[in-house]
Each structure stands twice: as C-alpha cells, then as structure tokens.
C-alpha cells in the first residue's frame, strides 16, 4: 500500500461513496432541470415508471447505480433514453470522482426497465436519493459491495481524471 494511502473502514467508504453520489447526482439533475431539488423525505414507493440500471466493477468495489423516473405522463422513447443516459453519466461522474482518490471501476452499458409502479430493491446496503421538480421526479439508488479493503490516495496530477465538460483538442 502506498505510504500516502488512507485506509477506510467499510462504513467510512460507504459514507464517502454516498456523499460522492449525492454530489454527482445533484449536479447532474440540476443541470438537466434547475428547478430540481433533493427531497429529505423519500418519494412514495411504487410510482416508478422507468428505471435505468448501470453495473460497475473494479478491484476494490462493485455494485450498481440506477436512475428511476416518474411523472404524470408516459415517457416518450427519447425521454426513456434520457433516463438511461442520466444513469450512464452519473456512473461516469462517480467514476471520475473516485478516480481522483485512486479508486477505479469499469462501467457496463445501461439497462432500461419499463413498467408501472416499479420498485427497486437490493440485497446490498443501498443509498437512495430522491429529487423532485414541478415536472418530474427522479430517484437515484445505488448498491455498493466492497470487495477488498479500500485505501484512498492522492493521485498524481497526470493521473487526475478530466472533469465533466472539459474539452481537449490534441
């Protein structure tokens, strides 16, 4: 283990992951809809109409991140694709944030689930964040499994992931 690495207990890393997820989800959803706000109370269960699930796996961690959507109107196909793209971008944002502290994972393509009154449940401890705006509601649910002890380390400048929105022309 590098001398500058900071070992985390599972509880510590789970809390850290949940904080990164909240940061990434808030940024992503408020960019999509500036009126979006995180709710302190969970939304009613059984109201999900579509959900996109993205799996991820790395040396230290694996799990999944899902973005579920519910609104009063049936989503058009493009809006369903948008839910998948949100899950994809959210998993990517968390990946880049974890990459800054030396924790990596690879992301699978998103899977879209359609239905009425879906609910999401995981065997693993899960993090759930609910967001609402006047026109839509989103739930972000993530399940995390720690495969081996995680140590956070400062990543060298040349290894730092690019930030969202960054553009580089070679």
């Amino acid at each position: 283990m590098p001398t500058d690495a900071i070992p985390c207990t599972p509880d510590e890393f789970e809390s850290y992951f949940a904080a990164l997820l909240a940061e990434a989800a808030t940024t992503l959803l408020t960019t999509l809809d500036p009126a979006m706000r995180q709710m302190t109370a969970p939304l009613s269960s059984g109201t999900i109409d579509s959900a996109s699930v993205v799996g991820f796996v790395g040396a230290e961690v694996r799990g999944l991140i899902s973005v579920a959507h519910t609104d009063e109107q049936k989503l058009a196909a493009l809006d369903e694709d948008r839910v998948s793209e949100l899950a994809n971008q959210l998993a990517g944002r968390v990946k880049n944030l974890l990459g800054r502290v030396g924790v990596g994972y690879e992301v699978a393509p998103p899977l879209l689930l359609r239905g009425r009154q879906l609910s999401l449940a995981s065997r693993q401890k899960e993090t759930r964040l609910d967001f609402s705006s006047p026109t839509a509601r989103y739930s972000v649910v993530a399940a995390l499994e720690i495969l081996q002890p995680v140590a956070l380390r400062a990543v060298a400048a040349e290894e730092l992931p690019f930030d969202e929105g960054e553009m580089l022309l070679f």
Partner: protein, 122 residues
C-alpha cells in the same frame, strides 16, 4: 453551398439528438455503435468529422479507432471522442490511435460548435 458532414456515433439517442441540435449548421449522419460508425467511415469519402462515444455495444470507440486506422476512406477525417470517461490513460490511447480531441460529457453546445468549426475548417 452544401453543408459539411459530421458523423455522430453514440448508443444514446439523447446524445445524438443533442449533438445534432448543437451542430445545426452541419449535415449530421448518425450511427448507434462503433461498428456502424466504422462501416460508414470506411465507405464514405465525405465525412469531415466524427464525434464518437467510448462505451458502446458491439464495438467501443477505442475498438473503432483501432479498426479504422489507415482505413478511413477520407484521410482528412477528424475524430473527437465524446464520453463520460476522463481517465488520462484512455485519452492517451485514443490520441495514439488518431483521435483529434476529447470531450467529457456533458458537453457545452457552444464549445462543441466551436470545435466542430475549427476541425472542419479547410
């Protein structure tokens, strides 16, 4: 004057739609994965710029770059990767394979249009 042609390669219809909207002054061709993108690039001489995702079914963006190396029908083709990936190692790999740029999603439409104009300038 006919519009310059840009190929957008992404499995997300949302992204293809948003890129097309940002690049309204161009003609846009779409592909839903790296394999479709590679086939179009190999077959057509009129594509000036390809904007390509990394993580796609059937063929990833990196695999597409590996396939089209030296095989693009249009040797003046520019390629920009548009992806959630931000790791320097994969960016370096794409550059080695001939990519001309990298954008981490979500993209800024004004920046994307400026990049497209710059890369397709005669």
């Amino acid at each position: 004057m006919s519009k310059k042609l840009i190929l957008v390669i992404d499995d997300s219809a949302t992204i293809r739609s948003e890129v097309a909207a940002a690049l309204g002054e161009f003609e846009i061709l779409q592909a839903t994965n790296g394999l479709e993108g590679a086939e179009l690039i190999e077959a057509r001489k009129d594509i000036e710029l390809a904007i390509c995702d990394i993580n796609m079914p059937k063929m990833t963006g990196i695999e597409m770059l590996e396939r089209i190396q030296g095989k693009a029908a249009n040797t003046g083709l520019k390629i920009v990767m548009l992806t959630t990936e931000g790791q320097p190692a994969i960016i370096k790999r794409a550059r080695e394979l001939g990519a001309n740029g990298w954008i981490v999603k979500p993209f800024n439409p004004v920046q994307l249009l400026a990049a497209a104009r710059k890369l397709t300038a005669a």
